[in-house]
Amino acid sequence: MRADPQNYVKVMEEEVVKRDQIEFMAQVGAVFNMLTANALGQLEDHGLAREQSEAIRENTVENLPELLEEFERNAVANGMEVLWAADAAEACAIIKDLAVKHEVKVITKGKSMITEEIDLNHYLEEEAGVKIYEGDLGELIVQMRGTAPFHIVGPAINLNIQQIAQTLVDNIGMEYTEEATEIAGNVRDFMRRQFEQADMGITGVNMAVASTGSIVLVENEGNIRWSTGAPRVHVAVMSLEKVAANTADAFHIMDMLSRSCTGQGMTSYVSVINGPKDAGERDGAEKMYVVILDNGRSKIYADEELRQALRCIRCGRCFIACPVYLTVGAYPYGWCYPGPMGAVISPLLLGLDDTYHIYEACTLCGGCESVCPAGIKHVEMFHHYRAMKAAGNETFGASRGSALERAGFKGWAAAVKNPALFEKSMGLLRFYLGLGSEEGQVHKMPGPLKAWSDYRDLPRAEKTFRQYWAEWQKTGKAENEAAAKADEGGRDNE
């Protein structure tokens, strides 16, 4: 989908006032917190499993070119054709050429964020005149509504049943019903017709296995098995970092992914695909292609500190740990990658200027990194982006940060390094705050501080700590007025 992160503030202001959406997302978060905690708790040794998944991703990132070459060698030996694309345009053109070459009219898809990233569906429909159907129910709904996915694994989790039903009424002529089983049944029947006539299946890749030249795909619904088993051509699209050294590593990542994502020990289906169909097979693709896509990742890779961004396994666990995402939802992020993982990858792919608010509107609470099975240090990454923006960074699309902010920090730092100046500045600040305060609480604050006092008061104790300490030094005791007040309050209550 076309990226539009610059509208963050405008969209955020619309979303943040939707309190029932926020309450709903809080409940969703609580449920998934519980499910994932249970599933991870069922592992024999969760701590070890987490160390292993982090090590597997580190191993991939540290050995990426070698693993990709090994994968390619083995995949080609299996009969797959491996194609490399530098960017979105090239990937789209490659896939379009394949569709044309194979006289494709109908395509069914597995849910694939990488194909969203390159806006493949629109391109193919316009340039190759094909009809494309998203097999995953959530992704189908989102495709029909023309919005960004609300979550990378559950794209329609924010929609209520009425919205889902209406979307299907409007797009596939379903008879309106609010029965979940009936809705799913209608989509099942509709998609069966497409699965039956599909000429090409397009999927992502959850993990490519270097040692065997296989790709591993996980799902619950079955649309991936359809898209890889029924059409005569299969195109699998993967970004560079989706490779593991061997099958056990790939399976372990899938284990951590399904537990961290939906709280499942194993998804309903796991497909391990090694190439076009075997001689004795009736089902399966006659021709299989893997498109390996860069689209800005080799640039990330070149930077030792930023490279960890490529560890992401797309489990989506970080979303439900993020207070900001649970409050503003996916739409402000303006792309197919919302939430903390989006805040890690979008700035590096789209540029730090355009995505400014995505990494700035973060409290650095660390909820995301505390649950990341790949061991990404989100807080460190956001620190990096802010520093890159402050100083300016051409490679990653950051013009130098606000001169006013720079000057402000310079002045502040000068005070911090000079205790006498610091004390004076503190006195000045306290004086101004005092103008808007009553009984030790500031009600109105000037200028940029207004953003605080519009919503809350600010404590302003009678004395600074220094003043208190000076008294304590002199007399071994000092008046702690706030404590005294509290004491008095206590005595009054007796």
Binding site: V16, I22, A26, P323, V324, T327, E360, A361, C362, T363, L364, C365, G366, G367, E380, H383, Y385, R386, A387, M388, A390, A391, G401, E405, F409, K410, W412, A413, V416, K417, P419, F422, M426, L429, R430, L433, Q441, P448, A451, W452, Y455, R456, D457, L458, P459, A461, E462, K463, F465, R466, Q467, Y468, W469, W472, K477, N480, A483, A484, A486, D487
Partner: protein, 247 residues
Amino acid sequence: MQKVSLFIPCAVDALMGDVGADTVELLSSLGFDLIYHEEQTCCGQPAVSAGHLEAARDIARRFIEIFEDDEIIVSPSGSCVNTVKNDYPRLLAGEGDWQRRAEALGERVWELSQFLVDGAGIEDVNAAFAGKIAYHKSCHILRALGIDEQPLKLLNHVQGAEIAPLNAAEVCCGFGGQFALKYPLISSTLVDIKTENFLKSGADILIVSDPGCLLNIGGYLHRHHPDRQAMHLVSFLARNLKGGVGA
């Protein structure tokens, strides 16, 4: 008596001097000899968060020079302790000796509850409180520093205090430093949700271990629910010592 060097956050100094005072009173009531380096100002966290690294490094080096001769440094602020322990070595990586000095200093800097429980083996500060309290888990204390049991141990030993469960205790209150000023709509929504959870808990006081959270939640409560209060952990303990304040 063990000498403890006080690391008083700038926000405490400027706005919540009483929290600093409570720190002094609690620690001295427990028998610690206190040092306060008056030339300290700020750990530089705002510069780190905003990406002004040169300023942050200057401030870090100065901080290290001020404190590095102290054996024990204690602060009533998890976020400031995190900056010193976890950010300073990264900031000063590749600056020869400075990284080593930062790491060495980091080993001797303690968040207050961690110092009392893990460092000094004190869980019972001899306090009493008849009422219900709830405990908010500040992000830096819980996740950045891995401190969770220690504050609860201290609170559990307060005679008569009942700890009410707090829904979403570990979720951020929405302060985030400059975040509160730059994204007030999101920040105020988050603190409102935190407040709702506090009110639902039925607790009289919300205990908060980080000054940033206290500014945020305390200020919000004062504006919207002035009959309820948030208190720093150190203030709650110091002001409820058996025998009274300054005993």
